[in-house]
Symmetry: C2
Subunit: 217 residues, 2 copies
DNA sequence: GGTTCCCTCCGCCTGCCGGGGGAGGAGGCA
DNA sequence: TGCCTCCTCCCCCGGCAGGCGGAGGGAACC
């Protein structure tokens, strides 16, 4: 029932440190090491560990690419991504690959052990230091109620909704069952109220303001 | 330096359990309780705790509304949301409010204590049991690469990106530093490859496919 | 009754968009 | 070398979009 772990990092010193921390934890066994992404993939395929500790920044093949490669195969290991800097690019890119954990190297050793155990159990863990940023990426949009939208009349909101479906004035007129001339008037009004130049910018505004969201008809 | 905590849950039994767990942790002090959302807001405003443990499902005012209310005020407490079921609705709704933690009641007590400490420190924690779903919500869209986008050349992708900012051909030309005629050609190509009629639908496609996302420049 | 807002509709006109077709240079590949 | 893709640029032309001003009917409010 031990958790078999492979460590991938290009710095020997850090590998040693990670190994020390991991092996000091009961039930955790380090079964391999790799100093770059290509080796990480090879060692992982050979050893089939439960958990792969993967540094993002590595030569030849970076951790993101290695994770993507491994996760595309059947029965991949759980991957805990390690990084020195918790930049938004690193964070989002890592989460996108579908890793089970994301940890900063500045995290206390017990977090690392916890992340390994959690990952091995099929769950996930994100470093507390960056978790708020993950949450913020959910909260960011709906917390911005664009004041301009409030001034739109119901009819104008209808028209804006239809605009975001890529319809022409004529199509909107058909859809709404009124004349195209009326739609033109509504569209002009919407553009004026939103302070945008054309229907294209109105659609961008609608998406960016959260008035419409991708994937919801 | 103790962490002052308020507990809000409509079940007295659960409040007692949470209090027991929290007070058993060194440096954590429970300074108030509430049995519904309205009381939670009132107690929180009176006690000004560092951390508020907030159940989602509560009478009068649910935890989500209470969190939204409190977080809209200046100097809000850190909020750790508690829930019995880790449904996607609960999860996303909670993260949207901007809480610092999201925990299932089925989590081990030490997770609760850890979440309180992490929240008090200004960081965030998401229950390992639902973290993978959070990660998946990042991976969900980019893992569906609409085949049409693959056929676009780098230049055409640039143009599409600029299109989604609501720019005219002339503005795109200026932005890209090439002639408008060239942009017209690229746009025509993009429309053809995406199978859409005009730039408006191309922008809608870009948003709906996840090629661009609201709120990310 | 007057005012205001919303919804409906009309015509005119300028300008950009998009379709069509063509063309040349740069770079990769066999 | 030939072949291909990509990027660059051009012309013509029809059509829709958007700005302009105007107008009438209905509902709500004072």
């Amino acid at each position: 029932m031990t958790i078999r772990v492979v460590i991938a990092d290009d710095h020997a010193m850090i590998r040693a440190g990670l190994r020390l921390v991991a092996e000091n934890a009961p039930g955790v066994d380090v079964v391999g090491e790799a100093a770059d992404g290509v080796a990480a993939v090879a060692v992982t395929r050979r050893e089939r560990p439960d958990v792969l500790l993967l540094d993002i920044a590595m030569p030849r093949l970076d951790g993101l690419a290695a994770a993507t490669t491994l996760l595309a195969n059947p029965a991949p290991p759980r991957i805990v991504m390690l990084t020195t800097f918790g930049s938004d690019e690193n964070l989002h890119a890592a989460l996108r690959t579908g890793v089970s954990g994301f940890l900063l190297k500045s995290s206390p050793p017990e977090h690392l052990v916890e992340a390994v155990r959690v990952a091995a159990a099929g769950d996930g863990m994100i470093d507390p230091a960056v978790t708020l940023r993950v949450i913020a990426s959910f909260a960011a949009q709906p917390l911005s109620p664009p004041p301009e939208l409030d001034t739109l009349t119901p009819r104008e909101l209808d028209v804006l909704r239809l605009l975001t479906r890529g319809l022409s004035n004529r199509e909107i007129a058909t859809e709404a069952g009124i004349s195209e001339a009326t739609i033109r008037g509504h569209v002009a009004q919407v553009l004026r109220k939103l302070g945008v130049r054309d229907r294209l910018q109105a659609v961008v505004f609608a998406y960016e303001s959260g008035f419409v969201r991708p994937g919801r008809p």
